[in-house]
Symmetry: C2
Subunit: 443 residues, 2 copies
């Protein structure tokens, strides 16, 4: 018997402080408005033969061009997918498709230690596929430093003649760490040249998951030097269920789905016209305000850190250099890092259980001085990993202790936040930490 699902009613601005924009973002009104026609009067199948359907096809290609334009590419270079996970998985098929005439030796896939689950899982799937064709394959992780930046020496050492595929996210989804993609691309270029001179034919493909990056970075494919780039609608104010993979010239992929020949035969299925439209409009809107937003979020970050420094448990700010007063040893406000995306402010309260903090912050009445305080929503690692109770690979990779990992909150800002709300959230987090700290003292 059909029944009505539980309805949750929140007014985003006034009754909560949402600090998990790295997990999901509301669809911006302009995007929703632009999507609307494709559900009603322009609902046609873009492959149908009559004029209004052909116009939908044109519009779809227009939006694709516009989205591609944002990263300095052409519409034809993009494969529209159902999200970043599919795009990441499609990217890794380059290991199979690119290797039909490769020397039948063992191959190696390099993945940064802090990549998203879907990258690791796609790497394993590629390994299994290659091994089922009798090609021994290894997935090796590349180390990061304590701020989450790639260890370029380790990368250089591991980039040997067997490496077929390298995957490094432009921005890490937990720490906000920005990777030096163009430096990585330069190192890859040198190895490619070496192979060419030695007559080695193994391809070497560079992929980057830029799911979080479009929010605050100006992305240029040619400047980054990547062959494959994953984009994600749901993280930038577009609808869920849409993503894109940029595919550089000459890069061969193997479709995950076969059928009606859409997306240059690489991704079959009727095009999600509304989805692409919302994605494009949202991404364009964000790209218009990059500088203003970077400045705004940098201010949020420092305001939040200023509050968090008042905690009885000394906060460990992740992804940046922590500082303390030389004389008193008291913690000081860290300097903003150029290598951390401005809307990320991850922090650990070692000794405190972050999961309890999340629970407390949902209902500040439990601990707050102000009984009318709004709930604050933060998370631990990536949503999908956190929901499985897994310990964050990223936080392990930057060398945090188990206690530091257990006390870590992922905090990420977005369009729903205000400076006032951030300060209030900071106070509430400190009150929650204090509540927990006192509880532990009394046990």
């Amino acid at each position: 018997m059909p029944y009505l699902p539980a309805r949750v009613k929140y007014d985003i601005i006034t009754v909560m402080i949402y600090l998990d924009h790295a997990a999901a973002t509301p669809v911006i009104p302009q995007a929703l408005e632009a999507m609307r026609p494709f559900w009603s009067d322009q609902f046609f199948n873009p492959s149908s033969p009559y004029l209004p359907a052909k116009r939908v096809r044109e519009t779809y290609e227009d939006y694709k061009n516009r989205l591609a334009h944002l990263i300095g590419a052409k519409g034809n270079d993009l494969i529209i997918t159902s999200g970043a996970t599919e795009a990441n998985n499609l990217a890794f098929t380059a290991t199979i498709a690119g290797c039909t005439s490769c020397p039948l030796e063992s191959t190696k896939i390099l993945v940064l230690a802090t990549e998203h689950d879907s990258v690791f899982a796609a790497a394993e799937a590629a390994k299994n596929r290659l091994e089922s064709t009798n090609r021994a394959t290894e997935v090796e992780t590349v180390r990061v430093d304590q701020y989450g930046r790639i260890d370029l020496t380790d990368f250089r050492n591991k980039l040997d003649k067997n490496v077929i595929f390298v995957s490094v996210a432009l921005v890490n989804g937990e720490l906000g760490t920005i990777q030096p993609l163009s430096e990585i691309a330069e190192i890859i270029k040198v190895e490619r040249l070496r192979r060419l001179e030695n007559g080695e034919t193994l391809p070497l493909v560079l992929h980057s998951d830029a799911s979080q990056a479009l929010n605050l970075l100006s992305i240029s494919i040619s400047r980054l030097g990547v062959d494959l780039l994953t984009l994600n609608s749901a993280k930038v104010g577009g609808p869920k269920g849409v993503g894109a993979l940029y595919v550089g010239h000459g890069i061969k992929l193997q479709p995950l789905t076969y059928g009606g020949g859409q997306e240059r035969g690489l991704r079959a299925g009727t095009e999600n016209v509304a989805g692409l439209t919302g994605f494009t409009i949202a991404a364009e809107e964000l790209q218009k305000h990059l500088n203003a937003n970077r400045k705004k979020y940098a201010e949020f970050t420092q305001a939040l850190r200023t509050e968090l420094l008042k905690s009885p448990v000394k906060p460990l700010f992740l992804g940046v250099k922590n500082r303390e007063d030389e004389k008193t040893g008291a913690p000081k406000l860290p300097k903003p890092s150029d290598h951390q995306l401005a809307n990320f402010c991850p922090v650990s309260f070692p000794g405190i259980d972050a999961e309890r903090l999340i629970y407390l912050l949902e209902d500040p009445a439990i601990f707050a001085n102000d009984v009318s305080a709004e709930p604050v929503y933060v998370s631990t690692g990536a949503a999908c990993a956190a929901s499985k109770g897994e310990k964050s690979k990223t936080l392990q990779a930057i060398g945090l202790s188990d206690t530091e990992i257990a006390g870590s909150l992922r905090i990420s800002f977005g369009s729903t936040n205000t400076l006032e709300g951030i300060k209030e959230a900071g106070q509430l987090i400190v009150q929650a930490v204090t509540h927990e700290w006192e509880r532990i003292q009394n046990v």
Copy 2:
């Protein structure tokens, strides 16, 4: 430089007669209304750890249960995908996943001759995957009769001990032919029993693409006896970019995308909550009005045929028995067929070029008696195949000549149609045929 896409403005009801609901349907208002919260106040990632996100997760599972309920299944039996193409492709992974410990002999995949491109393509992909693991594989097509119904004798003959997978759509997307799925399932049951008794361990899986069926059929998984069933949102008044695969107990699949472990690990990626919601609401709405709609469309079909019989070129109604007056030889109205979904009325005008008809009907001013006539949108075969200029496999399979295929229109009714509009469309089609017929006479 961003630019505004061409805007097409149509009011569906009043300024056109759309007769291609098998290609795409507008999203019904109730579905759109139900989707809205998941773009704004309930935008959370269902995997996030705080209460409102958990409520979104519950709602998502609720909608999945409701959708599953429509086919007599449980929510856990459904894998939500980005559409029917992905669901069809996922279904065919049963050939690989189900066979890890199979005898290493050659295997066979049986596909009905009239299946959608994505089924044939997924079958070929499965064949290639199996062959890459040194298992010779054959994709064999099962014949249909002149109405598009499966030839059960041919099916029985081809269902030998090597068959691992059978795919037969519940309703054909061009002719509307309804297949006797439960009879097919019975035959498969007998073969499974034979294998069991002989100690043969090769699995035998029955898949059905029910993309078109949810519109007008009451579907019961247990009555149909299928192991895997594809559902499609975009054909039933839900949004594009969503589909589902029913997976029977004990059926093993291999994911197409790996990552955050969503959909029981079989389909990674953040859940498209709005998409599933719209799909479920639209499907429920249709299922409420099955009888009324069947009756309505049956009336439309006979009204349209009545008009088309006035054509100077004798129409060939597809999927049904054509009749003529015993004395005069004049064509007569066919009797409605129980084996054709009521909203399909495919027809051929042999000798006339259907593509020219489509073009003419877009702009009736070219030929119509009434200069204010509305455009009529019809198609040839499936949209994706038609757009590639391919000759319909389905029409070849039912034995049409090239001339008959070239003169074929796919006509399918839906929520945007009225009896008055259907009659008007019939008159316009006859006028267009007449216009073409006269042009050919004068050449």
